[in-house]
Symmetry: D2
Subunit: 397 residues, 4 copies
């Protein structure tokens, strides 16, 4: 059983708490820190926490607490982590880890020096559909991975600080791109070095300094490409989709707007309570079990199991650091309009991976380009002569 | 924390065990009974149970056991339940409760007389999408429910006893229809009396005595219609869909074959392990988190919470009994080709519910039939004179 | 080139005209009959017809007209057909053919005695998806057909006469069920005799005498089952889906609400014109090319080609008659609550078809019930002994 | 009635012919040119053309021909167009127009100087779903367009010349990207200047010199972004999807793999003929009416109507030229790794369009950032002070 201090009583803190205390888990939030007393009290009441405080260190230092869960705005992550190091408490942190690579690196070094358990709460690589897809990818069902895309777009975040570029550290790239980057990086291989990034970003709609729409490409050392599409200006709800292309297959995941549940309502039924969506009439697409489907349950289960077993979780501060470094390159690229190298002072994956050859022999003299059955039923190949390079078709049956 | 005796080590027993012991739950299977020693031992090893036995009573009577989970073939349910009564152990039983209404009634009476906790493990009314849909239905988002349909079809069950009409008690109606009946009954209202059933059933494909395909209609006292479509002769995987129609809305649920995860694989990738599906190449449609998505987690959580809180779960033996009574009527109807009354010796819902009036006044003299915007932009009504009954169109804007 | 008299200037008449004159077709509507002068004139102006009239016979008898297209309310079909017989003009008629089997039979006999071309405008068996599916069914991709279901539900028809049981001849069974019946009958085989019908029908919502919701099962001589689900009380648009189950496969067709085009709109964009749907904001599901996708183009092309080639179209008055006879049985069943025989005075299909044997030999002594790969990778069969009937499992690999 | 010379008897020539002669059209292919006599003869026989030839000029010059349809490999387009100019025949050409912008410009200038009708056969902007979506976009249903993406990926083209970079002029960018570029350009506005392009391209799988996978971003003068995703290395069939994001809405189009028709087949049914897909068993996703759904019918109808009416079609050589110029920039960018300007010697759209302001006043002092209903039912705004730039939340109800 874990005894948790929750730092932050907002939207994400409550999501975490619902997951941690749901499904009869053994774990318990025993202390809640919030900046405002009323929020701390309210959370303590709702989740039956014995202890609440507006002093962050008090929550962390609480003698019964053995895990600290950081659910705070980006600009407070580093301070909270340092206090966990000071008090030698296991720490798990919401995403992104830092506002930039330097901040993330500092946090990573601090927890490693302090020797404390550190988990990076990237829930979407624990989403059940992701886990299922990733297992297939690892088993080779898709062959060699060529491209992985993740898209997260919605009409914008809930709290004011997100919209302030100083407090948040960035716009939708930092807020949403961190998910997409880790999803695609995991499909491609977390041991494959991200080499360079090209990113377009713009403030197309919102009266803010940060970007509200961005698209980025991340080139990996083995030639694979990661892609993210993020926006705070999307209309229609939350669009959360992944796509993976391999030499032998394809995966499409839809985590939110089309998951096999469709509802139409005129809204005239009595006592109908609104959904948290752009509208509450017409066709709606609810998610069955949001806390589970977005990965929170599998994430906390793994994190707490790892704490108990003394092992590393799938996602550590190191992963958060790599993601931040990629985001730094994306921001730089959006300004310079160049492919920008990913600066990784610390890299723990493979080195010097080269692009795999894909030549398939057709016969001694030729490579196979394509084999197909024509619409009139014949089997046809397109082949290339190894010496001359000449490409010809041949009907073979 | 619950200490469970699992009776049965087969497909469904393992599904239950995965759910009970997953997600860091506090609960533990401490005893496993299987008919064959090798199966009991294997299960005990896989799930780290201290105690295994081929003597059912021994597992039930085990002093540390406080809940018995029956995951046995249909023809053994009654015996197992009687032993739970004898030893005063809380009991939860897989579906269907009995092979017929009489057997179910006997089991229900026995547990109630013994005063033991009794839960009916109808997982699909705990499926997250069902729970979400049901909440909307209760809140009135669909208005008055007119019709609820549930479909469960697949290429047939795994174990031999299912195919034996004596041991199973029936064919796909009993095996799959029990799910569909409880799903649709819950949408319509579990306090509304099921009045009569019309059922078509046939053995279209399989060399068996029981039906391998059936369609049934269940008329409720308030005029709503429940519908089930079940088959063991479906090709393409497991088709698990619900539809609900109300005066103000519609819900469509797809629990299995189209849930927002699509995979294509040529099957040429290395080391690829087959899915439990009709094929393992081409387009496949995996479910992210089967144990959660089919309702097992929410079901056991609720059951065990209820045991601890001393409350009744959503689904008790009484519900299992009502389902069995409806199935009895379906089987009878399939033979007599008549609408057969549902025989309910025990009924705990509302009595004498009548069909609700649906007349909508358009003005003092007319009822509204339909209001619409025509394709050339005018607003039009079709109305009916209250006295003369004459129906006319009127362009109103 | 065909020169057409269109009888009826309403919703369906305009749909037909759009199809007939669309896509650069050679054909031309040269005369339009409508009951009201203003409607006739408007149609003539819109479609550039030289001749309009409020006298039906005048349109039919017009010397330049060689094909009459009946797009009139049900209660006028018979009169219009008789006039076509009198003037020996080729005739194509909207669905249903008659208000009942007797009326349809009379019309069929009249056109056959007159020796005129007769086409039954059942557009949905010409819908491109249907044609594609039907080709696969004919080619054996689904094996033997066990069941075919068609569903058409929407919030009710546009014109007042539909809601009047005398004028229309019935409610949603006649209006929508005629489509569903011909779709499922074609999948099962138009030469297979429909034997009996079980139907539930009710007036659940609308203040009318006819049914606004019905479900029917049609048993065919070879044991296959047709199913229709029809309603005028559905919310959410027009639900138009078919499903077919065969021993070797499955087909699902969605003709309307989910065809690969999704739109979300807040409705705040300037100048936005409403769609013909239940709402014009939120998530909408437009159909790309309604006239083509619902089969009108392929239908008229085939009809007019057949007139020119002197051949019979896919759908003649005989088909309309069979559909009406099935509907008669459905109405009777809804009242008697019995399976009612389909009364077919004229039957031109096969006679005495029996249910096909489906026994598959596993070895000399056993029939195969099911073969599967278990989740632990073994190949397993469930087989039945030919003499003893005993059913056992065997792991074979 | 148009009398057509078809140049090219291959895959696309037959697709065009099926469309031109389908649906009872008035038009007729009267001459067929193919390089190989056997192909010309076969096509002439299949489509009942009176005249066939292996001399391209002979087909074009044929006195009865009034429209020339170019369905030839890319490297022959220019020669064919010059001959049309010489003989003053109306010409419609398959996509892409040229192998590069210079070639396209030369062709455009030639037809304009010759004063002949010129149509660019970009079928996908005539696809019914595109037309429907485009109408909504024009009507403002999506507000201001921010981003439009089009994706076309499949396992590679049929004929050998496509794979030869000299003959084709490029790889999948030229072959597939030309579609995507024109689709997204049309959604954004064909009168808005494409300014610069960033493109990643690689040869990831095939043993060829051209790219088999590419992703590109096209920046338009008004700040909107077009995106293309193209590949010849995709597994699973042909993926053909468009997405559009506007300030007030979203459109998703799926033209091929998920269009509302799903089929499962074991392949064991008798006489089953293979589909033109990656596999012919398992789950398959046929398109109902490929020729119509991919836009061929609407395209030729418009083209021929325009010839008869003396008007310009939607798509002329000028559009083909703009597309080629964008592709040139994409190829350059893929090499230089820079955003490359689109070089347009000829530009006929708007000049000097600026990014539209999107500031929404909340009150005199504030701009609105976001308005939402919180999950506990309150109405909340996030607003920004016009002078100080300070961003705050306010609960307003």
């Amino acid at each position: 059983m874990r005894r948790i201090a929750m730092l932050g009583s907002g939207f994400i803190g409550r999501f975490y708490a619902d997951s941690i205390e749901g499904q009869r888990s053994k774990d318990k939030i025993i202390s809640i820190y919030a900046r405002k007393e009323e929020n701390a009290k309210k959370f303590a009441a709702d989740y039956k926490c014995d202890h609440w405080t507006t002093n962050m260190e008090e929550a962390i230092a609480h003698p019964d607490v053995d895990v600290v869960c950081i659910a705070l705005p980006n600009y407070v992550h580093a301070d909270a982590v340092m206090l966990c190091c000071k008090h030698k408490k296991a720490v798990v942190t919401t995403k992104p880890l830092g506002r930039n690579g330097a901040e993330a690196l500092q946090m990573m070094k601090a927890v490693e020096e302090a020797g404390i358990f550190n988990g990076y709460l990237e829930d979407l690589v624990y989403a059940p559909k992701f886990l299922k897809a990733y297992e297939s990818v690892k088993n080779g069902a898709l062959g060699r991975i060529l491209w992985a895309k993740s898209r997260e777009t919605h009409p914008g975040p809930h709290s004011d600080w997100f919209w302030n570029i100083e407090l948040a550290g960035g716009g939708c790239i930092l807020d949403l791109g961190c998910h997409c980057i880790e999803i695609t990086r995991t499909f491609i291989g977390k041991d494959i070095r991200p080499v360079e990034v090209m990113c377009w970003a713009d403030t197309q709609v919102k009266p803010i300094d940060a970007e509200d729409h961005a698209i980025g490409l991340i080139k990996y050392e083995n030639g694979a490409i990661g892609q993210f599409e993020v926006s705070w200006a999307f209309r229609g709800g939350m669009d959360l989709r992944d796509e993976v292309m391999g030499t032998e297959g394809t995966i499409w995941i839809n985590n939110f707007l089309r998951t096999g549940m469709d509802m139409f309502t005129t809204g005239k039924g009595a006592d109908y309570v609104a959904e948290k969506a752009e509208s509450n009439t017409g066709w709606l697409f609810p998610v069955g079990d949001e806390v589970n489907d977005l990965g929170y349950n599998h994430m906390f289960t793994e994190m707490f199991n790892c704490i108990e077993n003394g092992t590393d979780p799938r996602e550590t501060f190191y992963d958060g650091y790599v993601v931040n470094a990629i985001i730094d390159a994306a921001y730089k690229s959006a300004k310079t309009k160049l492919w920008e190298p990913v600066q990784l002072e610390v890299w723990r994956g493979k080195e010097g991976v080269t692009k795999q050859s894909t030549l398939v022999d057709y016969d001694v003299d030729h490579y196979l380009i394509k084999e197909e059955v024509t619409h009139y039923g014949a089997k046809k190949v397109v082949i290339k002569h190894k010496q001359t390079g000449k490409i010809v078709e041949r009907i073979i049956e």
